[in-house]
């Protein structure tokens, strides 16, 4: 399965850097985009309020590719909101014109560790009233968990 395999996660000084490699995917250029998307709220009422309080459900950051290795860094303040979206999925998307717009989901699927969520644990970062923690999901995808910082 084509995906972006996470090798290192560096939450430091209000930023998160992600390093890894593209698996079964040709980048088609030196620049990619990291897209973080928040799943929509369930109820209609909630949705209307959420647009105001939580902001858009998409955040985009640049990523660079060298061969099959990628790296991307983003400030956690980009997720600051009165009520931040609680969870974000993460994808790498090619930017080059004409390249197939295949999304590569970020995750860790190639090593021997059975429970990534328990073994690969990272500290949270705080900025502008939001606490952002990179986590692995039950499906071994990388996600961001956000909540208001106390």
């Amino acid at each position: 399965m084509a995906h972006a395999e996470i090798e290192e996660v560096w939450p430091r000084e209000g930023r998160v850097r992600l390093d890894g490699s593209l698996i079964d995917a040709a980048p088609g250029g030196r620049l990619l985009e990291l897209r973080c998307t928040a799943p929509p709220s369930r109820s209609l009422l909630h949705r209307a309020a959420a647009r105001v309080l939580r902001g858009p459900r998409l955040r985009r950051f640049p990523a660079v590719v060298e061969g099959t290795l990628f790296s991307t860094t983003f400030p956690v303040s980009a997720f600051a909101r009165p009520r931040p979206w609680p969870e974000w999925e993460m994808y790498l998307v090619p930017l080059a014109a004409g390249s197939p717009a295949a999304e590569l989901r970020l995750g860790r699927h190639l090593d021997d560790v059975p429970k990534k969520a328990e073994v690969y644990v990272y500290p949270a970062q705080k900025a502008r009233g939001v606490r952002v923690k990179p986590v692995f999901t039950d499906g071994d995808h990388l996600a961001l968990r956000c909540r208001r910082a106390r």
Binding site: D112, V113, V119, Y120, V121, Y122
Partner: protein, 377 residues
């Protein structure tokens, strides 16, 4: 005899291994657990070894005479469960013991066997901790009563010497723990994983190892440290330490596993960072799989098991810099890893279950023939 046969721990595993080997050699072997804590034992036991218990300690069971006992020093781990009723049951069992050899495995049972065990039987007390590592009241009881045992078995040369000096006239023997099996997967010398294992307790020194690995990761960022284990109270502190030093990409707390041999086989280097040990079973197990080992030369065990420079490397105890340097030396020299690992597999053979069982057999036969000679005279 075991305190309890249903737990998971070094003493239980060692006794199960010994009993299985002796039964396979044609001896009639039984295990008596004092307290029955669960319906079934959790560690593997040969079907040829019957398991009995003296006191039902499962939920809802009525304890025998719960008044406090008077035999076991308060400093002995778990002394509170030796009530007056339990002490009487254990002492009666030992006094009426009508087989050849009674082996007990911790101070509480060794003391009761010394005081009440049948004089017709050969009584062996196994010690899994060093003499002066016990609480003072336990040490005092040992010094007063162990001389009534026919044999005291210690795990390390240092312990054997200490017991010999403290108990003149008592027969002391050095008898290391056996490996459960020599049929284990080999380590991969090309792996870039350093492995460690043990309960998350302070004396295991994983905090020291994490500090050492901080230096290793700077010089060799492609290498990882995996620590298997859990329980006890040090887990959150170790996690904080990893985060504070930004080692979350290099040091991983892997949790507990029942297949440690398979995890060892994925690594090329093993580290023992303990401040103290009773023996160092995890070190011996790593060597039996051909890992290149680096171990603090802590009291006591590693220096008995490892011949420095031949089948592993010993590091001055608690020396974080020296451990980092030794790990780097192993990481930078594949040929050294292979040479130490091969020699370690050879060295570990002496601790194979068969080899240790034969040593016990020889000892039991010697003690029994002496006993028969005394009875004839």
């Amino acid at each position: 005899m075991l305190h309890c046969a249903e737990g998971i721990g070094g003493t239980i595993r060692t006794v199960f291994t010994q009993a299985g080997q002796l039964a396979a050699a044609g001896h009639d072997v039984e295990i008596m657990g004092v307290f029955r804590r669960r319906e079934r034992h959790q560690l593997p036991l040969s079907p040829d070894v019957p398991l009995h218990r003296l006191v039902d300690a499962r939920k809802g069971a009525v304890p025998p005479d719960p008044a406090p006992g008077s035999e076991i020093p308060a400093g002995e781990t778990g002394s509170a469960v030796y009530t007056r009723g339990t002490e009487r049951i254990v002492a009666d069992y030992m006094a009426s013991f009508d087989r050849d050899v009674l082996v007990t495995t911790r101070p509480a049972l060794n003391l009761l066997s010394a005081r009440y065990g049948s004089r017709a039987a050969v009584r062996v007390g196994q010690e899994h901790w060093n003499l002066h590592g016990h609480r003072p009241d336990v040490t005092a009881a040992i010094l007063a009563d162990y001389h009534r045992l026919d044999l005291v078995a210690a795990l390390t040369a240092h312990d054997a010497a200490a017991y010999t000096e403290a108990l003149p006239g008592t027969r002391i023997v050095l008898m290391p723990n056996p490996l459960p099996t020599l049929d284990v997967p080999r380590a991969d010398p090309d792996s870039r994983i350093v492995v460690a294992a043990g309960g998350f307790r302070r004396f295991k020194g994983f905090d020291l190892l994490i500090r050492s690995f901080e230096q290793v990761a700077l010089r060799h960022p492609g290498w990882r440290l995996r620590i298997y284990g859990g329980g006890y109270d040090q887990g959150p502190a170790l996690r904080r330490q990893i985060n504070k030093r930004h080692l979350y990409n290099h040091v991983h707390l892997m949790g507990q596993t029942t297949t440690l041999d398979r995890e060892y086989a994925k690594a090329s280097v093993f580290a023992l960072s303990s401040r103290a040990e009773g023996f160092g079973m995890v070190l011996l197990e790593a060597m039996s799989q051909g890992l290149a080992v680096a171990s603090f030369d802590c009291p006591h065990g590693p220096a008995d098991i490892v011949t420095h420079g031949r089948d592993g490397l010993l590091v001055p105890p608690r020396d974080v810099e020296a451990m980092a340097g030794t790990l780097c030396r192993l990481i930078e020299d594949r040929a050294l890893r292979v040479r130490l690992g091969d020699a370690a597999v050879e060295a570990a053979r002496a601790y194979g279950p068969g080899a240790i069982a034969r040593r016990w057999e020889g000892l039991f036969e010697e003690l029994l023939s002496e006993r028969r000679a005394t009875l004839r005279a």
